[in-house]
């Protein structure tokens, strides 16, 4: 029984961290820029494809990670510069239509470039083994994923709470006119923040590829789950996204193990419960 608990908790943590990596980028751009980026799933898939190409050329997982992250960041910043910036002043429905349009365009371009087949990136040999934990073996790569998730959470949180740039970002969220009046280049800052968000999505894509695979349609599958995590965690709330990812990841894993028939209901049930209990949403509480 204890074995079962430990093994399933580890499974749940891994799944949670994958969810968190996805939600982090979305939550961040949402919190800072107040833009709903429905193309977020496309950046995940794009990162995975960039990584795949890099892997095919170099057979190095590290190269794949760098290319995926940098590639998604560049495309993200270009998108923000050329289109999104003009939409900050418009209402959210316009932004939704714009980013969803880009999600479709990206999906088609990726189909043209990488085809419709299913691909995958193998786990690097160094991490392909299994680690013994409490009498059971667990894939090493999955444990690393948990570490990466936690590290990114702590780093992002510190960067926003404890650094000067973080303070600037928080200030611009509160009143962007005032901050630019003080002589800071807000537009550039926002471009970087958006690029950081899509970079994390691209990173999640390449790190998740050995587990989820890479194929057309994955972008939208991923988007739905990510939206649920972001909604449960509270819009634009990074620590909220972290805890929400843990809650949903663990609940779904235990659900699958104990009541397989109800597994797909569980995350939607959780979301409904959270919305009912805290219907106003954390986003409308005070800024700390």
């Amino acid at each position: 029984m204890l074995d079962f608990l430990i093994a399933q908790t580890l499974n749940g943590l891994v799944y949670s961290m994958l969810l968190f990596l996805l939600a982090l980028g979305l939550s961040l751009t949402f919190g800072m820029l107040r833009v709903i980026n429905l193309a977020h799933g496309a950046f995940y898939l794009m990162g995975a494809y960039f990584g795949l190409t890099a892997w095919n050329l170099t057979h190095s997982f590290w190269a794949a990670i760098i290319v995926a992250t940098a590639g998604a960041a560049i495309v993200g910043m270009l998108l923000e510069r050329s289109w999104l910036q003009r939409f900050y002043v418009r209402n959210e429905l316009d932004q939704v239509i714009l980013t969803f349009g880009f999600a479709l365009v990206f999906a088609d371009i990726m189909k043209m470039l990488w085809g419709k087949d299913i691909h995958s990136i193998p786990v690097p040999p160094l991490l392909s083994g299994a680690v013994q934990i409490a009498g059971t073996y667990f894939p090493a790569y999955r444990l690393i994923l948990v570490g990466v998730g936690v590290a990114l959470f702590v780093a992002t949180w510190l960067a926003i709470e404890r650094t000067r740039t973080g303070a600037l970002i928080r200030a611009s969220v509160a009143d962007r006119v005032m901050v630019s009046g003080l002589g800071f280049n807000i537009r550039l800052l926002f471009t970087y923040v958006f690029g950081f968000g899509t970079a994390i999505a691209g990173l999640a894509g390449v790190l998740g590829a050995p587990i989820t695979g890479i194929y057309p349609g994955l972008d939208f599958e991923v988007l739905i789950t990510t939206l649920i995590v972001v909604v449960v965690g509270g819009l634009g709330n990074i620590s909220g996204a972290f805890w929400a990812a843990l809650l949903i990841g663990l609940a779904e894993t235990y659900g699958k193990a104990l009541y397989p028939a109800a597994a797909s209901f569980i995350i939607f049930g959780l979301m409904a419960a959270v919305l009912l209990i805290r219907a106003w949403g954390r986003d409308e509480e005070d800024v700390e």
């Binding site: 969803f100 299913i118 299994a130 894939p139 194929y215 988007l223 739905i224 939206l227």
Partner: protein
């Protein structure tokens, strides 16, 4: 850290997100027919060319085109034209396209369709419209039964039952005793398991566990942990497509590959999943009506020509398209390159006795489902690639259709 987001609540975000994701993502791809010539024979090809099954649809149409091209697009001196329509794997779209092909394009025969959801409705339609339809997909058991047999609908692909039933016998005779069954939680996934278990358990073997995962499950870890705990000698799985890639890979990542045999319905380990599955697929047993490694001249020629024509590895769907085209072409040939009426065409299809890359095939008059060989395959390394080789052949397998 919490930030204020004016004007937007979680609910608006959710509403916009779900609305956006629900929108249709499928453009229509239509292949225009060639310029009409003197009384050419028209074949209406239906396949999902966009949407989730786009890759399967492309493989099928490639197989179809390749066969007709090998015959120079003609039969007994009569030209053959293909009119290709995209079904988008949606029932309403499939039926609409069938109507268009029959009522506007006036095709002589319908060929194709993958989704079983389209299959049920289309079978009713061709009976009313009196148009012969040879399907290269639609494998759900219920579509071709004795009870709903009609003279216009033929299935040249396979039924789920047909492929999985021999596997139970074979696995039991191999000495496997305790099975854990798993598959995607919808009709096909369960039908495959039921057919396998029927013969497997009849031989005295037992089921020690079962779990059905939602279609499109990303993480199989909870199920694999359960499998490890139960420790069966074999896992029988009916996953397909991206589910199959993930299941087989994660099965290996959790170290089960060395202690537990993985086996399943052929789509678990097929030519279109091997590249992504990699070494995790090696050693998987599966059953289907075709294997890359079938050692016959017909199959070798097919594989070589396909690789040359498309610079791609053929899959079971490419073969399904190819064989479907073979059935239609042979019926045309029997009628001397013309179709006097649909009754004559139906009779010609029913009398099919041909050799294909999958071996000899014919049709069962009671169900109009194909009678064919089922191959028990093992995934093996073949140079830099992974392919299925044949371990055993069950000859002339028919679906009783009851």
């Amino acid at each position: 850290m919490t930030m204020k987001t004016r004007g937007l609540t979680r609910r608006t975000l959710l509403a916009s997100g779900t609305a956006a994701a629900g929108l249709s993502l499928s453009p229509t791809g239509v292949f225009s027919p060639a310029i009409a010539q003197a009384k050419p024979l028209r074949v209406g090809v239906m396949a999902p060319l966009s949407g989730v099954y786009a890759s399967l649809g492309m493989n099928k149409t490639n197989g179809i085109k390749m066969f007709f091209n090998e015959q120079n697009m003609s039969v007994e001196g009569t030209k053959i034209e293909l009119v290709i329509e995209d079904t988008e794997a949606k029932p309403q779209e499939g039926l609409r396209k069938a109507r268009k092909l029959v009522e506007q394009d006036n095709v002589d025969v319908l060929l194709g369709v993958i989704s079983s959801a389209i299959g049920y409705g289309l079978k009713e339609y061709v009976n009313r419209a009196k148009k012969v339809w040879v399907t290269t997909g639609a494998a759900a058991d219920g579509i071709f039964k004795k009870a709903n047999n009609n003279p216009y609908a033929y299935r040249s692909s396979l039924s789920v039952y047909q492929a999985n039933e021999p596997m139970g016998t074979w696995m039991a005779e191999k000495g496997f005793k305790r099975v854990f069954v798993t598959g995607p939680d919808y009709a096909m996934g369960r039908e495959a398991i039921v057919a396998f278990e029927k013969t497997f358990r009849a031989k005295g073997a037992e089921r020690v566990g079962e779990v059905y995962a939602p279609l499109g499950t990303n993480d199989f870890a909870p199920y694999l942990t359960e499998i490890k705990r139960v420790n069966p000698d074999v896992v029988y799985a009916s996953y397909a497509g991206s589910d199959a890639v993930r299941f087989v890979q994660q099965f290996a990542a959790f170290g089960l590959q060395n202690s537990i045999k993985l086996a399943g319905y052929g789509y678990l380990a097929e030519e279109d999943t091997f590249e992504a599955q990699g070494a995790a697929a090696v050693g998987v047993y599966s059953a289907l009506n075709w294997a890359y490694g079938i050692d016959t001249p017909a199959n070798k020629a097919f594989v070589a020509n396909y690789r040359k024509t498309y610079n791609a590895i053929p899959t079971v769907d490419s073969v399904a398209g190819y064989v479907g085209a073979q059935v239609v072409w042979n019926a045309f040939k029997k009628l001397g390159g013309k179709v006097p009426d649909q009754e004559a065409l139906s009779k010609a299809v029913l009398e099919t006795k041909i050799d294909t890359p999958r071996g000899p095939i014919s049709f069962d008059p009671d169900t109009r489902n194909v009678i064919q060989n089922i191959y028990i395959r093992e995934a093996v390394k073949d140079g830099n690639e992974i392919h299925n080789k044949v371990l055993a052949t069950f000859e002339a397998v028919r679906d009783p259709g009851v």
